[in-house]
Symmetry: C2
DNA sequence: AAACACACTTGATCCAGATCAAGTGACATT
DNA sequence: AATGTCACTTGATCTGGATCAAGTGTGTTT
């Protein structure tokens, strides 16, 4: 159950067996069925979640009821509404399962304790957040700078698996496009070949 | 020279005088004149920089030569091309000074050593990156979800100082808008009052 | 096999914001 | 005082992508 988690932790920091056991003790295992919610906007996000198996989507819904995809999380990814998790304020995003999913979850209190007992976890999360920040930075630049087609081809290049695993309307939403637009873009790309 | 830095560090972690001295020893002081470059795209970003005084902008330039503002950094902010800094690859962004600026800079090797000698710095940067990530996440959602006017009013609310301190064309670029569009938006808002 | 749902496509029209092109007004330089 | 320059405004036009409204095709339920 903890295989993927430690695979990821050990890539970034070294941990004794004892430390590994301490870390394990802070996590709760949870399984989600396809379409089941992990978090609904308005609730407080109680857990930071690591995906051992499956696929989740996090998205927010605007005033007009339109869903805007935020990120996808599959094996080896962490997900939560970070803002809500760390501040205890109400979440603005929703998270639900696109596929049946197995999660490892930790509470904020657990997280705080864990980092104090095993300071290497501060290091792990420093590196993790650092990398996410780099990725987010690039995506932000891309969302402002590039055309719809460039955004799509960038995504396909940087994340080929995602495009295969996730329905096209969600990919469109992730890129900030109408589903029709993505459909036309794909057609144009195919025609040009 | 290190006042603002330690003000910020001590908000997030406690540090002995000894630790503070060690940290100081890793930093280089640098002054920049208005309009002077800190980093040009194509060079490797050698330093992670903390702004003690002044104001910097980081931006990238697209194929058509158009500048896209990425972020602003003033007193108490860190800046760099994180990707380039941590990987040693060529930078894609430019950083230059909007006002005369005083910086504290650390190299990647320095950063690595510092976190190993003073693990609390891992904690500091974990929290720093965590907060930046939350902010970036919000900005990304905003850039996809909101209209031009909503983006602007959001910025004014969340960052009133920035709007006063930075020329309007740079604000427009930061929001992904043409300068003319921002001008018209401001006019409309004023008219409605 | 008929009916339905789901994921995607195609076409016609519309609109927010970009682009191009002249202003305007407040300082700075000569 | 005239000239230049910088930051912004205003107007006219254009366009990428959204929106609305029918399809189509495949798999699933009855």
């Amino acid at each position: 159950m903890f295989e993927i988690l430690f695979l990821h932790l050990l890539k970034k920091v070294s941990l004794s067996h004892e430390e590994q056991d301490i870390i394990k003790s802070f996590f709760i295992v949870k399984k989600l069925r396809k379409r089941q919610y992990l978090l609904q906007a308005g609730d407080v996000c109680k857990y930071l979640c690591f995906v051992e198996k499956g696929l989740l989507r996090s998205y927010n819904v605007d005033d007009k009821g339109i869903e805007h995809m935020n990120m996808f999380a599959w094996e080896g990814w962490w997900t939560s509404d970070m803002y809500s998790f760390f501040t205890g304020e109400k979440a603005v995003i929703n998270i639900d399962a696109i596929e049946d999913t197995e999660l490892l979850m930790i509470t904020m209190e657990g997280f705080e304790k864990m980092t104090l007992i095993v300071p290497k976890m501060d290091r792990y999360f420093r590196i993790l957040f650092q990398n996410s920040l780099i990725t987010k930075e690039r995506r932000l630049i891309s969302s402002i700078t590039h055309t719809a087609e460039e955004k799509y081809t960038n995504l396909v290049e940087s994340n080929p698996t995602l495009v295969q695993r996730v329905p096209q309307n969600l990919i469109a939403s992730y890129l900030g496009l109408a589903p029709e637009t993505l459909s036309r873009i794909k057609k144009n790309i195919a025609l040009r070949k």
